[in-house]
């Protein structure tokens, strides 16, 4: 079990991480979600021993990182955000090298190299130099190297930033596979979909503070369990607004040019009522989007801001 207790880190007068605590149990896929600058990387850096926290503690199986750095570091596997490989070495040479750096030798090293190549899907490219790899292959090897010493906890800092959709999906699937096979994972991201897809537990960070923490479903409910319904219409909804409001008394209906939106707990019946009300005014929906309760909504609810300013997530 990995226990993070009240980590704090300031840079000058700027508080980068302000009292972050969480627990990761074996087999967990734990997400650290937050916008850019929230303090995710700084938290990860303290957990993996790259930087010293100003205060707070990191414990793995009761051993503190400060007192037993070797014990803890040997059992953590960090996947840095950027490619951290020797470009002119082959995939196999890289794995062997990093294995030795992490104290793996002999037959165990051979076995682990094979396993890592398999996980990364690079067994056929083992003798190829990394510089000749595609971006996606490098990413995969980058992750595999983090696994070379068979860590108990795999720590990944935004591994999908700035890469194409295909590689991203491959990485997400790889991490999910690993987790299903029993690997404990800590995964940071500012994409709520990734965290929803991968993680069973998470913490949401904002301005260095933890604003939500717990099981995925519990955190989702922080949004009040409201779904968002958006409708594109074939006419101007203004005349129908009163009727809509009467049909959906609990919700505030927002109307725009040719579209309406509202938040409801139970979207099914509400959509039916809305369509009926509109039809009385000769307006028909062209398209209906229903957004189920999600982390984005939870973040919005908690901070009044969106997780990300637009984008492709």
């Amino acid at each position: 079990m990995l226990e993070v207790r009240d980590l704090r880190k300031t840079y000058g007068s700027h508080v980068a991480v302000d009292g972050v605590s969480f627990t990761v149990s074996p087999g967990d896929a734990f997400g650290l979600l937050g916008p850019n600058g929230a303090g995710k990387s700084t938290t990860i850096a303290m957990v993996s021993g790259l930087i010293q926290p100003d205060s707070g503690e990191v414990l793995l199986q009761g051993h503190s990182l400060r007192a037993h750095p070797r014990f803890v570091k040997q059992r953590l596997g960090l996947v840095p955000q950027h490619i951290a490989l020797h470009e002119r070495l082959t995939a196999e040479e890289n794995l062997r090298y990093w294995g030795q750096v992490y104290g793996v030798h002999g037959a165990r090293l051979r076995d682990n190299v094979e396993w890592c190549l398999r996980v990364a899907g690079l067994t056929d490219h083992r003798k190829q130099r990394v510089e000749r790899f595609s971006g996606g292959m490098k990413r995969r090897l980058n992750i595999a190297v983090g696994l070379i010493h068979r860590p108990e906890v795999l720590i990944m800092d935004e591994p999908t930033v700035g890469i194409d959709a295909q590689s991203r999906n491959h990485i997400l699937d790889t991490v999910r596979e690993l987790n299903r096979d029993g690997m404990t994972v800590i995964y940071t991201s500012h994409y709520m979909q990734e965290v929803e897809y991968l993680c069973n537990r998470l913490a949401i960070l904002d301005h260095g503070r933890m604003i939500a923490y717990g099981a995925l479903d519990d955190v989702r409910l922080l949004a009040g369990g409201l779904s968002t319904v958006r409708m594109d219409l074939d006419g101007d909804p203004a005349p129908a607004l009163d009727a809509l409001q009467q049909a959906l008394p609990a919700e505030r209906v927002e109307a725009g040019e040719g579209r309406i939106s509202f938040h409801v707990r139970d979207p099914g019946p509400a959509v039916g009522k809305a369509v009926l009300a509109l039809s009385q005014y000769g307006i028909a929906p062209l398209r209906i989007d229903i957004e189920r309760p999600n982390l984005e909504a939870a973040f919005l609810q908690l901070t009044g801001r969106r997780l990300r300013d637009g984008g492709d997530a």
């Binding site: 790259l50 960090l78 840095p80 020797h86 070495l89």
Partner: protein, 375 residues
């Protein structure tokens, strides 16, 4: 230790497969040497290099004394000045204006002309023992020739050169020493400079690695910072040694530079490489931005190269610059290499080697107090 070798191996293999970097490390210095050779031709070639500054006080004034002074003046190895008194000669020595003082006592010519051996005092500060020895050899060599000639005259044989009224010339140097030629100076000057340049550039590589996520990966691993430092040090030593061997081979067999005894050269060169690797490590630890290292490589190395005598013969510099140059590792090694090529005593070699190793030690300590921070 296994970790250290793994790191060295990975770095070297990476470099070995980097054709561009290899070219830069090995071929570039040779090309530049050739180009600079043309540019610096006027500075080094042909022109003799004044090596030892000798101040002569001639209390005798006889034929032998005059000819000895003229003989020394005629040697490209010496820059001779004359002092009016023994006192002012000693002063020149004390103030560092001269390396060696020559005192020709009153009556020396008479003694030698009558078959005796002349009492010419060659004085020098302790640290100039080598130059003192060099001058002594020339003086002794001249003395024995002179006695031979004067004996011949006494015995009625016509002294060829003396009869022609020309100063007696002894062309070959005394045994154990060779005069320095311009090619040799140039070769070692270039070698000192390029190794220094490469050491600083290597620091840039260290800075770049430290800023990369590769370093995060190492820092997250169970590796001590000192193991990382030793790995950096060893791989830098390897690369410098490879560069040094290539340069040395080229200078020795293509340029035709002289070389000292292999063991002396080895001790000196090894010490220099340690000093440079230390310098590289300390820059790599203390400097945060690659741009600053580039600046050091550009301006810093050039200034050091000039002061250290790699651009202009150091013997032409004012004394204080020459003294300063001896504090710079590149200035120190250049002089030591040249001394060794001329046939220096082991004592001088050790002094230079110990100084360079001390520089290396100071650098390592300075690097050790600075833990590499993860950006």
């Amino acid at each position: 230790m296994r970790v250290v070798w793994a790191m060295v191996w990975a770095q070297l293999l990476d470099l070995l497969r980097d054709r561009k970097a290899l070219l830069l490390i090995l071929a570039m210095p040779l090309v530049l040497t050739a180009i600079l050779g043309f540019a610096l031709n006027g500075l080094f070639a042909g022109k003799p290099l004044p090596v030892v500054r000798v101040v002569v006080h001639d209390a005798d004034g006889g034929a032998y004394a005059q000819q000895l002074t003229a003989f020394l003046k005629g040697q490209s190895l010496f820059r001779v000045s004359e002092a009016a008194s023994a006192e002012s000669a000693r002063q020149a020595l004390a103030s560092g204006q001269a390396d060696v003082a020559l005192e020709i006592p009153h009556g020396a010519s008479g003694v030698i002309d009558h078959g005796g051996s002349a009492q010419v005092n060659v004085e020098a500060p302790v640290q100039q023992a080598f130059r003192q020895g060099l001058v002594q050899q020339y003086v002794d060599g001249f003395g024995s020739r002179w006695s031979a000639v004067s004996t011949a005259i006494r015995d009625g044989l016509p002294p060829a050169s003396a009869a022609a009224g020309e100063p007696l010339q002894i062309r070959e140097a005394a045994s154990g020493t060779r005069p320095l030629n311009a090619k040799t100076y140039y070769a070692y000057a270039m070698m000192a400079m390029f190794l220094l340049l490469h050491a600083v550039q290597r620091a840039g590589v260290l800075v770049r690695i430290r800023q990369s996520d590769q370093f995060k990966r190492i820092a997250a691993g169970p590796v001590s910072t000192s193991a990382v430092a030793v790995g950096d040090l060893i791989s830098t030593l390897f690369v410098l040694a490879a560069q040094c061997l290539v340069l040395f081979a080229a200078y020795r067999w293509i340029l035709g530079a002289d070389t000292g005894p292999p063991l002396q050269m080895g001790v000196l060169t090894g010490s220099y490489l340690f000093a440079l690797a230390g310098l590289s490590l300390v820059i790599g630890r203390w400097v945060r931005s690659e741009a600053v290292v580039d600046g050091l490589a550009g301006i810093g190395v050039n200034v050091m190269a000039v002061l250290g005598g790699s651009m202009y013969p150091v013997y032409g510099f004012p004394d204080w610059v020459q003294r300063l140059a001896q504090f710079l590792p590149n200035g120190r090694i250049l002089k030591a290499w040249l001394d060794s090529a001329m046939g220096v005593s082991w004592h001088e070699v050790w002094v230079a080697a110990v100084y360079l190793l001390a520089v290396a030690l100071v650098c390592l300590l300075a690097a050790a107090v600075r833990r590499p921070a993860v950006a």
